[in-house]
């Protein structure tokens, strides 16, 4: 189904030059990834949601106001590391979460409870929040265990609907 990577995509990310093909689905140890340019940075961190930011699916951003669409915007994937603006890297699109996920509950402060469906927040860049009514089509992940301190730990969330 996908091209196999021989090393962890987290370690292959954050390069100044493009090293991998855009568009293609990549596989590494039970999870799937895509590759893009990370632009319009609001200081990236591991576990940030990223959304599409150009018309040809080669660039993403963690800045919801710079992403395509009306907030909450559709999520393209989850950032694997602290990317430098306009550098290239992988983001996760399917499988059990391989990195922590930056997320909180609907009130903006509480931890996410187990079983909650998540969309991209339209207040804090890179952050996910629990889905509200009419946002069902924007769900990109499910929390399988409760989060803590603004993050859901790796292995405690699952991608949904991004491929």
């Amino acid at each position: 189904m996908a091209k196999g990577l021989t090393a962890n995509p987290q370690s292959l990310s954050n390069t100044a030059d493009q090293k991998y093909e855009f568009g293609t689905l990549y596989y590494y140890q039970g999870a799937y990834y895509r590759y893009a340019k990370f632009e319009d940075a609001v200081t990236y961190a591991e576990g940030h949601c990223v959304a599409w930011s150009n018309a040809n699916a080669t660039a993403v951003t963690n800045d919801w106001s710079a992403a395509l669409g009306t907030a909450p915007v559709p999520v393209a994937g989850v950032c694997l590391t602290a990317m430098t603006q306009n550098y290239y890297g992988f983001f996760q699109v399917a499988g059990i979460g391989k990195v922590r996920l930056y997320a909180y509950d609907l009130d903006g402060t509480a931890e996410v409870a187990a079983g909650k469906f998540l969309v991209m927040d339209d207040a804090t860049d890179g952050k996910a929040q629990v889905m509200a009514d009419t946002e069902e089509h924007l769900v990109f992940a499910v929390a399988t265990s409760a989060g803590s301190s603004s993050y859901i730990a790796s292995g405690n969330w699952v991608c949904k609907g991004m491929i």
């Binding site: 189904m1 855009f22 568009g23 699916a57 395509l68």
Partner: protein
């Protein structure tokens, strides 16, 4: 999970099935990278053209149609986007279900960049997701559509696998 496809799927319009009907295939598009396709029977009263948004026919996940009026169609249940220039009624072809859009996606003329899309009530087309249709999302548009389509490479499949 998917069988590699060597043949260019855009030219497939088979009188008799040459692939597993309903099967999942991976194809390396020279422009848009790796995509996933399914192989279906086209049952519509009109051929499925490039980029047509096709829905499953009732009780049979091996056949699709771009015709919204066809008897027995399953409302809002998209089976994929036709990639062949023409899949004749009663014949077999490929339909994209994952990856960057390798053909122009037929739309109603009102889709904007960043919109999620569902099947439109008009034949062949998709439309912007409306309240109550969220479960049926099939793609994300990355550019505004023109009169009747979102350009190839400017949309991404969503939720068809």
């Amino acid at each position: 999970m998917a069988t590699p496809l060597i043949e260019d799927p855009t030219g497939v319009d088979d009188v008799s099935p040459r692939y597993e009907i309903g099967g999942l295939y991976e194809y390396q598009d020279p422009t848009y990278g790796q995509v996933l396709l399914r192989y279906y029977l086209c049952t519509s009263t009109a051929a499925a053209g490039t980029g047509d948004v096709c829905q499953y026919v009732a009780a049979n996940a091996t056949a699709v149609t771009p015709d919204r009026d066809e008897t027995g169609f399953v409302a809002l249940s998209c089976g994929g986007v036709a990639v062949g220039s023409s899949v004749t009624t009663g014949q077999y072809g490929f339909y994209q279900v994952a990856g960057i859009g390798m053909v122009a996606l037929r739309s109603d003329g009102g889709v904007a960049a960043g919109d999620t899309c569902v099947m439109h009530s008009a034949d062949d087309e998709c439309d912007t997701t409306a309240a109550g249709q969220e479960h049926a999302t099939l793609a994300v548009a990355l550019a505004d559509d023109g009169a009747d389509s979102v350009a190839a490479g400017s949309w991404v499949c969503r939720g068809l696998l």
